[in-house]
């Protein structure tokens, strides 16, 4: 209690309470002195006069009490007393304190972790002034084409336009580069225009951001992020002025960002550099940049789009004349600028909405279950304390005061839980972040650290207060609704209140079961889809298949790789399977125009991957070398365009990659099995057209290697082979690529099963509490029944049946709700099965089994009631 006294001592000083008490004392003393003066004049000594004056005044303590009751400090006193009583009560009933605190703390902590992530990526504004006007530009064509990046000279026309709707615009693009040194490593770099730093105004740990000189020439320099500084320079404190070898170009380090700060992008790059400073990471292509910036005040996104449209129509890509064959009506292809707000790290998007919605729903459900549980706990405790409450009522405490007394306790529990939850969430946020973003961090990128900041703690305290008051109020109202004249008897006369409290708790258990069903079923469905994800068949064996990720391909490198022991086959490709999909190209089949997934591969591709040929043949070496216009299509493509016909010998037209607007005809020479080329959750390719390539004239960017056995040694051998011919490669096994893609599913099923188990635990806890409570309440009844000849087995069964009946009610109400909910979620997240018979069959059984487990001990206690003792005790 000492800290409580200290706290209230401080409150007294702050609120002027100390002065109030002193005034009361002074006034009473002045009264007594004045009376003593008068008494002294009747001949009494001073001492005697004072003694008599005090006696006449009466009991000072009552006078002061009355003074305090009148003062505005009355509620403070009541709060102090209530807190003291609540603390004592909780110390006495430790099991209640621990259970109630754990229930709230677990739910608060999960909510805090969720909101820490939502806050960091969706709610917290970008770290710039006027973040609410930050926009990104894209261009939409009338045929569904759209672009988000353009050559620098196009971009500069918008950035340097004096009448621009952008108050400050900047160009940006992300590139992968190789940073040299004794151990070259891949890194992400954000290439931006100098205006990016004018807008961001970064506070640096050391140095400054790169800048353009007076002639507008970009400085050949980089600003490192904190993670980049750690990874690329091994946290070198004297890094400023040193140079970094980026794709063979030497760039000076001029600044380093402090930990926890990033730029305007959700993924923090290793470093930033200026556009045009050096040609790095572009892989021979002309670099293209996106445009973003802050709108002028008062300009809407639609106004901005309308103002930018004429400018983007003058961009080089829009000016490229469409050929007559491709576009028979010239001038019908139009482009419009589209301006979209992005005021936080991640833009609100249609893809993320259902995810956020489902998450909020899940967390809301768990919170509701915990609230029902807590209400039940408070109800049990308030009912158990009815004797204490009735004494207070008999002594004159009003109902309001009793309710305030009970609410203080529930609020205190909530606040203690908020503190516990704070600790829990801080501890778990880093762990959760580590798991959730392992996909990104494996690829060498870092996300901004998510932290539980003051706003989240405040929000959690507010939630704790709402839960505390909300869950305490109903029990407080229920328990204080009693007849005072019956109060002190502590007997069956109290039954009316107890019976309705018991019924209320029964209803609360049903509510908990109803609410936990969707969570458990949802968890079941997700766990099963994550499980099936581990068994997914991509269409070719992935064991021993390696994505080499070289910095370039050459005949010398391929020859060298072929000589590495254990290498069975090697192929060069333009789009690596399972890393994002094929290149989408415009095509024409049977006269209709459509988008097709295409991939340029060499003659060894199908052998290396192990894709079987169904009809016809695959490319020959000479076809690949000279890029003869022949194509191999997937079975699904053949079925779609030539159902029940032979596709061999037919033609497909594909957009020419070199001449804009020109189409090229390909003769189909083979049909191969369907495989997964995109991300695995997208399923097997709906259509796939393979074109020959990879000859000396048109090198393809990636190399796939088939090893007879995958091991650290063989990977190291591949790396060494690359180094031997002066190349850099980063061998990456397909097993690992697939594992990374499974991470989101595993995380989702982890979250869902975590929440599901929490819900199950809470529901069982509620049921256990209810059964235990009702058994204690009915001890006398059990005693009488046993005395009248009821067997122990009968009593045990009776208690168990009652518990099962409640769970049965919950399942009966919950399952239809559950079916509706899962159909709704499945309609938004297509990869989730809407009805999973296993999850639906298993979960109710688990709930019933858990309910039986939770009630068996209290039921045994009921059955072992000694009739004589039970009747004597009550």
């Amino acid at each position: 209690m000492r800290p409580l006294h200290a706290l209230f001592g401080w409150v007294d000083r702050v609120t002027g309470r100390v002065g109030f008490e002193r005034n009361m004392t002074d006034e009473i003393e002045s009264h007594i002195a004045a009376r003593a003066d008068d008494l002294e004049q009747t001949g009494l000594s001073r001492v005697e006069a004072l003694r008599q004056a005090r006696r006449q005044f009466g009991r000072q303590i009552r006078c002061r009490e009355a003074g305090r009751d009148i003062s505005r400090y009355r509620y403070l006193d009541e709060l102090h007393a209530n807190l003291r009583d609540a603390l004592r009560g909780l110390v006495r009933d430790r099991s209640f304190a621990v259970v109630a605190t754990s229930v709230i703390a677990s739910v608060l902590a999960t909510n805090m972790v969720l909101f820490a992530f939502l806050d960091a990526y969706f709610l917290r504004p970008l770290p710039i002034a006027s973040a609410d006007r930050h926009v990104e530009l894209s261009v939409r064509g009338d045929q569904g084409r759209w672009r988000t990046a353009w050559p620098l000279n196009d971009v500069e026309r918008i950035l340097t336009d004096d009448n621009s709707v952008l108050e400050r615009g900047y160009a940006f693009t992300t590139r992968r580069v190789i940073v040299g040194g004794p151990h070259p490593q891949r890194a992400y770099v954000e290439v931006v225009s100098p205006s990016y730093f004018d807008l961001l105004r970064p506070r640096l740990m050391m140095g400054r951001p790169p800048a353009a000189d007076q002639h507008g020439r970009p400085e050949r320099a980089v600003m490192l992020s904190h993670s980049g500084w750690k990874r690329l320079t091994a946290s070198d404190p004297a890094v400023l002025g040193r140079s970094l070898l980026v794709d063979g170009v030497s760039l000076a380090v001029v600044g380093v960002l402090p930990e926890g700060t990033g730029g305007l992008e959700p993924v923090t790059p290793e470093f930033w550099m200026l556009a045009g400073a050096a040609d790095v990471g572009a892989a021979g292509r002309a670099p293209e940049y996106g445009i973003a910036g802050v709108l002028r005040e008062g300009v809407s996104v639609d106004q901005a789009a309308a103002a930018l449209t004429p400018l983007v129509r003058s961009f080089s890509f829009a000016q490229a004349a469409p050929s007559a064959t491709q576009n028979p009506e010239p001038g019908t292809r139009t482009y419009d600028a589209r301006v979209e707000l992005r005021t936080t790290l991640l833009r609100e998007s249609r893809e993320l909405q259902p995810l956020a919605l489902s998450l909020l729903l899940l967390f809301g459900l768990v919170t509701a279950i915990a609230a029902a549980n807590l209400t039940s706990l408070h109800l049990a405790r308030a009912t158990a304390r009815r004797h204490d409450l009735s004494i207070r009522a008999a002594l004159g405490a009003s109902r309001g005061r009793l309710i305030r007394h009970l609410l203080t306790e529930s609020l205190l529990v909530s606040m203690v839980a908020a503190v516990v939850a704070w600790g829990l969430s801080v501890a778990s946020v880093a762990a959760v972040q580590g798991i959730v973003f392992s996909l990104v961090s494996d690829a060498g990128m870092t996300m901004l650290p998510v932290d539980v900041d003051g706003r989240i703690v405040l929000a959690a305290c507010a939630l704790a207060a709402v839960v505390g008051i909300g869950c305490g109020l109903l029990p407080a109202l229920q328990t204080t609704k009693m007849d005072r004249s019956l109060a002190l008897k502590r007997d069956a006369l109290w039954l009316s209140g107890t019976v309705s409290a018991g019924r209320l708790r029964g209803a609360l258990v049903v509510v908990q079961v109803v609410l936990s069903l969707p969570l458990l079923v949802g968890a079941g469905i997700l766990v099963r889809s994550a499980n099936s994800a581990t068994r997914v068949d991509v269409g070719y064996p992935i064991d021993g298949l390696i994505d080499l990720r070289p910095d370039g391909t050459s005949a010398r490198l391929l020859d060298k790789l072929r000589s590495v022991p254990g290498v069975q086959a090697i192929s060069v490709v333009s789009s690596t399977p399972l890393t994002g999909g094929m290149t989408r190209m415009s095509g024409r089949v049977n006269g209709s125009e459509l988008r097709l997934g295409t991939n340029e591969v060499d003659d060894h591709f199908f052998d290396t991957l192990g894709i079987s040929t169904i009809r016809g043949r695959v490319f020959s070496a000479s076809e690949a070398a000279s890029r003869v216009p022949v194509a191999v299509i997937s079975e699904a493509t053949a079925r779609r365009f030539w159902p029940s016909q032979n596709a061999i010998g037919r033609t497909i037209e594909l957009e020419d990659t070199e001449v804009v607007g020109q189409y090229r005809q390909y003769e189909i020479v083979g049909v191969v099995a369907d495989v997964m080329s995109g991300f695995f959750f997208q399923g097997r390719d709906a259509n796939a057209v393979y074109r020959p390539g990879g000859g000396a004239g048109s090198p393809l960017p990636d190399i796939l290697v088939r090893l007879d056995r995958e091991s650290a040694t063989s990977m190291a051998a591949l790396r060494t082979a690359c180094g031997d011919v002066g190349a850099f490669c980063e061998p990456y096994s397909f097993r690992r690529i697939l594992a990374q893609q499974r991470v989101p599913f595993e995380v989702a099923s982890l979250i869902a099963s975590g929440l599901g188990f929490l819900a199950l635990g809470l529901a069982c806890l509620g049921l256990h509490g209810l059964v235990r409570f009702s058994v204690v309440q009915r001890t006398r009844e059990f005693g009488i029944r046993q005395a009248l000849g009821a067997t122990r087995r009968r009593i045990l069964l009776g208690v168990l049946v009652e518990a099962v009946r409640r769970v049965g009610w919950g399942i009966g109400i919950g399952l239809p709700i559950c079916l509706g909910l899962s159909a709704f979620i499945a309609s938004r997240v297509p990869i989730v099965a809407s009805f999973d018979p296993v999850a639906y069959g298993f979960v109710p059984l688990v709930l019933l089994a858990a309910a039986l487990m939770a009630s068996v001990f209290p039921a045994l206690r009921a059955a072992s009631t000694d009739p004589i003792r039970a009747l004597r005790e009550q």
Binding site: E27, S30, A34, R35, I70, S71
Partner: protein, 112 residues
């Protein structure tokens, strides 16, 4: 004149009347009431202060620390405008009560 118990609920009326004649400290209020009632009312001293504080909280009196006649530090209470209005209302209500009680008890008829 003998002593009399003050009627419940009338202490505040008596205090308002006492301080309406000029600012008084607590002991002064007590003496003034005793003096005005010619010693008929003796007020329990411990009950006076809660009544004073209640009046102050209702803004019917205001208080200020000052020096008493015997040069002691004392808190002086003065009637506020609101207090004067309340005093007027209560005196009127009291008169009506006395008249009615008198009529019921036949005192007025006897006096005539």
């Amino acid at each position: 004149m003998g002593t009399a118990q003050i009627l419940p609920g009338t202490l505040e009326l008596l205090i308002l009347r006492a301080v309406s004649l000029g600012p008084l400290h607590g002991y002064g209020v007590l003496s003034r009431i005793e003096q005005l009632s010619s010693g008929a009312f003796t007020i329990e001293e411990g009950a006076l202060y809660p009544a004073l504080w209640r009046l102050e909280r209702q803004d019917l009196v205001s208080s200020e620390w000052g020096a008493s006649a015997s040069n002691r530090r004392a808190k002086f209470y003065a009637i506020t405008r609101k207090g004067k209005a309340r005093l007027g209302e209560q005196v009127e209500a009291w008169d009506r009560l006395v008249d009615a009680m008198g009529m019921v008890l036949g005192k007025k008829a006897d006096a005539r």
